[in-house]
Amino acid sequence: MSKSPFGIESPMSRRRFLGVTGAVSLSAALAACSNSSGGSGGSGSAGGAAVSQADIDKAMATPTTRTFWTWVPNIQSEVALFEAKYPAIKVNVVNAGQGTPQYTKLRTALQAGSGAPDLCQIEYQYVPTFTITESLLDLRPHGASALKSKFVDWTWSQVSGPNGEVFAIPQDTGPMGMLYRKDIFDKYGIAVPKTWDDFAAAARKLHAADPNVYLTNFAANQAAAWHGLLWQANAKPYTVTGKSTVAINVDDQISQKLGAYWGALAKEGVVGVEPDFTDSWYAGLNKGTYATWLTAAWGPAFLSGSAASTSGKWRAAPLPQWDASAPASGNWGGSTTAVIKSTKNPIAAAQFAQFLNSDPDSAKLFATKQFFFPATKTLLADQSFVGATPAFYGGQQVNQVFADVSQTVNTSFQWPPFLDQVVTDFTDTVSKALSSKGDVVGSLAQWQSRIVSYAKGQGFTVQGS
């Protein structure tokens, strides 16, 4: 099942825009709601007047078709559950590309003022990129606040705005852990590393024992993994205050500790640094070149599909720790469903976003059909999910490992409002230093200064510089 949030893009399917459907008649009646809830986002704690149950009932009984951009394969099954409950509402699922290509199209449509969908798949790290342009609808007036207790705390803080707005509903997650080859560990007498010091020692030991094997591949290009590890180390690389003030700290003590750590291992040549999700990388995982994969909770299902020849040899464990007495982790991947503010039918769209991800049947289907790692507390405690014993992992309860990890993910990590640029700058500086086994700590300063100058150029006040 090669279905990951960072997997291969599926080809773009038909792209049909709405606009000339029966929705028009309804939209006039709802315009008032849309304006009041959208316009006042951010002011006051309630985020605009709540939509009354009568209005919701009326809207959900009025025939309409809403467009939903998502790259999730076979999501039609979950959509069907919604359409069965609300036969009047049809959801037109459009695959507009996975990740960045979809965001590019969405931004273009938003700027053009037409062609944007009603709902959109958005990864956690991109929520601030779209809230800075005020493109996402605050879902509080639609009853989203009531869902807070259903979701794991850190996922809810990821979709929350500075004034308590709810900009999206979590769908799946990627708390980070470690997948390792038990057979290789056993062969060379390596214990599962509990701390990063253990991990470094194991990397040196393993590579000395067999020069063709590396403890891990620390993909130089993978900004998402880097951020996940910063997250684990309790870094605060980005802090957004208000609408126009940011603090950038990708070169602080914690980042430098990380840079020095991985820079040294890369320089010694005891870990690989090749780009991930490439043919060569897949071959490395299949051939046992890499004894671990520092990955996220979607990794187990992904790996069992793309390294089938190694079935039974892998196990899962939490990430090595900086402080073993206070286990922590970060998140890599997973996404949300957001309602685009320009929707002509905010009630139906908001109800769909909430149903899709919080309805027990729909949420469970994501876990069993798409192999998504859940964001709801119920599922993370559901024996039929966490108790599964896949043969690929020698019968280990892999989901339980990651469910426990999810509890240790820090709730206060923030993303910058211009993530694309941050990632590009990362690739141009830190990735280069890592892959060329150069000065990684020094490259962090370059990364920092490029982000700062971009932020200033975009009119932000950058704190501390």
Binding site: T100, N221, P275, D279, T424, K432, Q458
Partner: protein
């Protein structure tokens, strides 16, 4: 009787009428977007603060932008190395085919031309696989014979690897242009030269090459444009070598990244215009040199 004699004023109206469809499309599809891009390049859009008119500030910034200058420098180097090689190969193939001495000339002609028919996206992916340092066939062959192969996707080889892909793609295309030009040379000239005692080499040098000059100039112009706008190949190889091909590897790639990852559409427009200007200047210089030689 033609309309010319009976209604002279009618022809006056007919001319513009015939040109109108072209002119309308030209205005709509060519000049309008160009004008719009020029207009965009005079503004600056900020995430905080919105859009403001900044005059030529974007151009001033671009001229001082080290990433852009590196990108332009790199494609200029690419142009200087790759284009002469490619045109020389195309010329050799065209002359060989035209000589009539080759067997299976049609098959060979098609074989050299086929890569041009392969979409450049497919070509880049295919070559990316061939170049692969771990299990690309070249690396595997090297390992089999215990010969170390260079890392084609590494920092020092990348530009050469790209040049190889582009050459492979476009030799056939240029060859067809040159071959077609050779076909238009009157055969009597060859007979006359042969009667005067000229061998095949002499004929190639004294008759074919001079006759090919306009066609060569044309292929050179296309190559200037192609080189300076290098985009597809680096963009695709970026997936497998993201640490070598950065966001400003070529000037066009830089403009793309500015517009679509940095959201700096206005600045990207200015960069694109400057790149266009570079292409116009380089093309003009080559045309000027070529013409002067011909007249001299």
């Amino acid at each position: 009787m033609s309309a010319q004699n009976t209604d002279p004023q009618g022809t006056g109206a007919a001319g513009p009428l015939f040109v109108a469809p072209f002119l309308a499309l030209f205005l709509l599809l060519f000049l309008t977007p160009l004008g719009y891009a020029a207009y965009l390049s005079l503004f600056q859009h900020k995430l905080v603060g919105g859009t403001t008119f900044v005059g030529l500030q974007n151009y001033v910034n671009a001229l001082k932008d080290p990433l852009l200058l590196h990108g332009v420098g790199r494609v200029a180097l690419f142009f200087l190395i790759q284009v002469p090689l490619m045109l020389l190969l195309a010329l050799l193939f065209a002359l060989a085919l035209d000589s009539g001495l080759l067997r299976l000339a049609k098959v060979i002609r098609l074989g050299i031309f086929v890569p041009y028919a392969v979409p450049s996206v497919v070509a880049a992916l295919m070559w990316g696989y061939l170049y692969g340092p771990n299990f690309g066939p070249i690396a595997q062959l090297g390992r089999h014979f215990h010969v170390s192969t260079p890392n084609f996707l590494g920092n020092s080889w990348m530009l050469g690897s790209l040049a190889n892909i582009v050459t492979w793609e476009f030799v056939g295309y240029n060859m067809i242009i040159l071959y077609a030009a050779l076909q238009t040379i009157p055969r009597e000239l060859y007979e006359a030269a042969a009667v005067d005692g000229a061998g095949p080499w002499r004929i190639a040098r004294a008759i074919k090459l001079p006759a090919l000059r306009p066609a060569l100039t044309l292929t050179l112009l296309f190559s200037v444009i192609g080189s300076f706008q290098l985009f597809n190949e680096p963009k695709l190889l970026q997936q497998i070598a993201p640490d070598v091909i950065d966001s400003g590897y070529t000037a066009n790639l830089y403009a793309y990244n500015l517009a679509f990852t940095g959201q700096q559409v206005n600045y990207a427009a200015a960069v694109s215009f400057l790149l266009g200007l570079v292409i116009v200047i380089v093309s003009y210089v080559f045309l000027y040199v070529a013409n002067r030689r011909r007249n001299a």
